[in-house]
Symmetry: C2
Subunit: 135 residues, 2 copies
Amino acid sequence: REFRPMPYRPPSLPRVRDIMTESVVTASPDESIEDVARRLIEKEINHIPVVDEEGRIVGIVTSWDIAAAVAEGKRRLKDIMTEDVITIRPHESVDEALRRMDRHNISCLPVVDGENRVVGIVTRTDITEVLRRRG
Amino acid sequence: REFRPMPYRPPSLPRVRDIMTESVVTASPDESIEDVARRLIEKEINHIPVVDEEGRIVGIVTSWDIAAAVAEGKRRLKDIMTEDVITIRPHESVDEALRRMDRHNISCLPVVDGENRVVGIVTRTDITEVLRRRG
Ligand SMILES: C[S@@+](CC[C@H](N)C(=O)[O-])C[C@H]1O[C@@H](n2cnc3c(N)ncnc32)[C@H](O)[C@@H]1O
């Protein structure tokens, strides 16, 4: 057999799917702020995507939003959750994920598929792991 | 004059003092949870060191702790603030700062001097800036 050298391919940038968490803790829009706060504490996380019955993303709630509820006396989840969620796709690069976080001054991106269903989540903490090993 | 070649010094790792924020937003132990929540929202930050009259660190409060207050119905700042604060010194390296954050699952380190007074603050967001440029 004729030996053909492997074409040189630059080390491909790590993809979001290589580092994302797939078991995502979520909430539904009709839950209370207390429910969501308890889940944040129990799981020691700062971000919870809000999804509809089909698992499609309809918002995101963070510990910062809960602080806003306390600061401004808001009562319902809908009043504090962000609905215009910045997301990313599994095949996009980790570098793009970091750029997108910096552009929007956020520390987490829900990972969605073609139908906007949540299939994972990636945080700034996950990315610092990858970058530290690269340093 | 005799020319002596510069001794080779590896590119020094960036120090915490090179990237820390020096104008630190702080709170005092007798303030209310609502005061602290409002300050988090107003300044768009997630972490507030708690200091005594001499500016020495006595605790740290984050939006996550405010969520804990909501989840567990806690009333006073003292009930939710973390008193055993993990800190770092200005001369320590950025890599050490990141290792320390990862070890304790936290995203922020108050920077203190020899008398435990707060002289700055460094967050995971600050560090990702440095690491990205290095990538
Ligand atoms: C354990 S983390 C969990 C949330 C998430 N993993 C994160 O990185 O923020 C949240 C807790 O860490 C505490 N914390 C934050 N920075 C700290 C520091 N420099 N030293 C000690 N505790 C800190 C907060 O007070 C809060 O109770």
